[in-house]
């Protein structure tokens, strides 16, 4: 697939950013397609926040080019972005509705529109009782929800959220997740930077992993996982696993119940499945490809044993 510029919400091309002698972002290239949920991940200090700040025009890249919605960043395009930084806060001694009204107006909304929409979103997230409360009077979870509202208040076309679920309980996590899904269904592009791999697996369509400023993984989430899949299968049940055709070796699994069957060259998991299906000597409770979780991939890639991916 080679998407046209009009399909791209963000296009980052060969962007490099140096802090003195240290290269924070090194020749980074990636796209975020319109309407997708895109995830950025990487160890601390990998260059994620620097990249986000360059996208937001808070920092200028040393070299390379960034375009938003097909054109260079301008005040107009900035108004189409909603950004929620990782470490967040709002004016503490100001009523919630006033903070939201102010931030909405700064994003180009009229005072009336900002107030009306803020009220609607506060009601949607169960904060209708707290419209006039000061931010400092709210619980951490409530503040987090207000922060999310501040991010999406002006109906942005692109939402960039750093660690959207940190500090949230499962109920509030689900509430925010539902809101993001709903916005995404309406066509809003969402970029998440997070360490919570299971959230990426669940939510993101595509991902970018950076390490030491370089792109190390990029693409469809499932494709990335498949790329890291071992030539092996995981089974649970009873039988003589080594006697199966194509099985090179058998390793006990981590939990004591499952076993990992490593396959010989030229054999596919389907061959093993067919052999199991026709044999009465095997009793199978579980059969799956040995695809690593994103967490395992993250550890493997971020553990410096991985050569940066070639485009």
């Amino acid at each position: 697939m080679n998407p046209s510029a009009s399909d791209q919400a963000i296009a980052v091309r060969n962007v490099t950013k140096r802090y003195g002698d240290f290269t924070a972002v090194n020749d980074l290239t990636f796209d975020v397609q319109r309407g997708e949920i895109f995830s950025m991940l990487g160890p601390n200090g990998a260059g994620k926040t620097t990249t986000i700040r360059m996208i937001l025009d808070i920092l200028k890249p040393d070299t390379g080019q960034i375009t938003l919605f097909g054109s260079p960043i301008s005040d107009r395009t900035k108004e189409r972005i909603g950004y929620m930084p990782e470490e967040r806060g709002l004016y503490r001694n100001v009523p919630v509705i006033d903070v939201l009204g102010y931030l909405g107006q700064l994003k180009g909304m009229s005072a009336h529109d900002a107030q009306t929409r803020a009220r609607a979103l506060l009601e949607q997230l169960g904060l209708e009782e707290n419209i006039k409360s000061k931010v400092s009077e709210l619980s951490k979870g409530m503040q987090q929800k207000v922060q999310v509202i501040a991010t999406v208040l002006h109906r942005p076309d692109l939402v960039i959220i750093d660690e959207p679920f940190s500090g949230l309980d499962p109920v509030n996590t689900q509430a925010i997740k539902d809101m993001l899904y709903e916005m995404n269904r309406e066509g809003v592009t969402i970029v998440m930077s997070t360490h919570q791999m299971h959230q990426i697996e669940e939510m993101a369509h595509r991902l970018l992993m950076v390490s030491r400023g370089k792109r190390v993984l990029y693409g469809n989430v499932q494709e990335v996982r498949d790329r890291f899949a071992e030539h092996a299968i995981i089974v649970e049940g009873e039988g003589d696993w080594s006697a199966l055709p194509g099985v090179a070796s058998v390793d006990p699994g981590d939990n004591g119940r499952e076993v990992v069957l490593h396959l010989r060259e030229g054999f596919q998991p389907d061959d093993v499945m067919q052999a199991l299906a026709v044999s009465s000597e095997y009793h199978i409770r579980r059969f799956e490809l040995a695809v690593p979780s994103l967490t395992e991939i993250f550890i493997q890639v971020a553990g410096n044993n991985h050569v940066p991916e070639q485009l």
Partner: protein, 453 residues
Amino acid sequence: MSWEKIWLVLRREYLYNFKRPSFLFTAFGVPLLTLVAMFLIFTFTADRETNLDNWQRVGYIDRAGVIDPALAVENDVTFQPVTDPALDTPAADAPDDERRAYFDALEASAAQQVAADNLDAYFVVDEHYTLNGQVTVSSERNLPAALTSDIEDFMRAQIAAQAPAELPVSVERLSDPMSVVIRDLDNDEELTETMLVGRIMLPFVFVFIYFMATSTTSQFLMSGVVEEKENRLMEILATSLRPLELLWGKMLGLGALSLTQVALWAGAGVVLASLHEGASELFSGTTFQAGDILLVLVLFVTNFLLFAAIMMAIGAAVTAEAESRQVASVITLITVAPMALLVTFFNNPDGPLPLFFTFFPLTSAVGLILRMGLTTIPTWQIVAVLAIQVVSVLVLMWLAAKIFRLGMLMYGKPLTPRTFWNALREGRVVLTTATESQAELPDNLPQKRSVGR
């Protein structure tokens, strides 16, 4: 730059800080309390001192024989001689002892009449009044000032009636021989003593108002920046507007707040002057002309911008509000230095130290206004001060904008002068962010990162 966004920031900063309890107290509370205090003083104290409704029965005992009961004296209170039917009035040629015994008995009777509430007070003209002028007033209550003043007028009239017709000096002149008039040779105007006090005092009042207004609002500015930095709002704001829009919005918003405070205080001053004759006279003593007021206003604006630029830079450079207050207090100390060394202004307002304070940008407003009340300032000095102010404002605003841009995204690490200097020299900005903490940088790298800006 978008003026619409500057206006949004301006309005938000103005309204938010206007509602702060500390501002409300300084802006409204202080002048209001002053007015209420003045009102109470006028209503109660002044009334008590001037109202003679309860002092209509005042008698006198004339031991010296200087009072002519038939003489009509215009007074609020008509004084009557103390009498007692039980006592026989001694004959005009009665011996002194007999007369003294009579007056002693009359005084005792007068005291009893006061105790019985038949008299409000009585005064005794001493036997040797013509020599010692002694008049003793007795009462069971505190005497209002108006009553003693009435007794004085009464006695003056009595003496005047007896003075020789050919006396070339009026009795009033005898009783109050000196009326001081001070002539200002600069503009040949006559000043009363109250006006003279006003001439010296008013610059202090101006300085006080100016100082309160500037320091209060510029500290609001600083704490606002620190708050936005501390709670990371700055990063959100940075995606909504440009740093210079934020900086100008804040400066103008708080500048307007500062002017509001001055206007409120000045308004209170005008009300006070219209209420009280003395205050009015005090104000009229000032040498301030329209041009001087304009100069003070210009200095007010330039000095506010200087202060605001410094406070904003401090706010952007530090990491916590407590830290910012410490740094800000040093700046405040410098600014109040002319007040602390006030005596040098009185000794010689054109001396080296007052001159230094006049030209040093941070103390110009205070130094110049203080000198205005004490000396005539040459035009060249005023021009030089204004030039220095404008240049300082431009330089400091430029520096503040640099520091603001540098510091606004620096969390958890203060902006050191060295870092800033390096950034200025290289035309680059050096920053470290919290999200990319230093500890995670490779070991062989310096503990800071330079960012081209």
